[in-house]
């Protein structure tokens, strides 16, 4: 089972890339994750995760054009590949199938 799944953090990174579109590069991904999760995320973790996702074929990347406004190295822009989209779908599907099998009142809390 090791390494065969999307990790949870990886899944969030993939989703963030989908959300950010043309602005999906390291720092922006970090910020998006921090906003949504309310936790501190290290930039190294984001880069490491993106590299791994690219190795796995779930992300693609290209370097952005230079802009007039800022200094700084070019942004490495990521996009979710088709296999990446399928991996997201698969993860969702597995959870949903378990979710659907939960007996009524399995939990005290209301899972709206």
């Amino acid at each position: 089972m090791k390494g065969t799944y999307l990790g949870e953090f990886e899944e969030l990174v993939l989703l963030s890339v989908g959300v950010l579109q043309q602005e999906a590069y390291g720092l922006a991904i970090k910020k998006e994750l921090e906003d949504q999760t309310q936790r501190k995320v290290s930039i190294s973790a984001v880069h490491a995760s993106c590299n791994r996702l690219e190795e796995k074929g779930y992300l693609t990347s290209h370097f952005g054009e230079k802009t007039q406004k800022r200094g700084g190295r070019r942004k490495k822009i990521y996009a979710v590949s088709l296999p990446g989209q399928k991996a997201l779908q698969r993860a969702q599907h597995i959870r949903k199938s378990l979710w659907d099998r939960l007996p009524p009142n399995a939990f005290t809390l209301d899972f709206a």
Copy 2:
């Protein structure tokens, strides 16, 4: 971020325990996971994961009664604690909030 989240495998284990109710013990959890994920899961991974989830307070456990029909050590029956339910809820919520932020046509695939 390390260790602050439910891992993906842990999340599936929690859900399986919710599904199985009174039958939520090692082997049954393994089977449930294998059925739903279509992958091989080692029994050690299940036990290790349950132990860790119990340490984190997301699962509780008690030993089942002896049954007439079989030999064998008593089953250790798990249940999802309230914090465990909240952790599941939180994981869902974070994904949903990213999901909702996806621009239309962010993905080629249809995420029904």
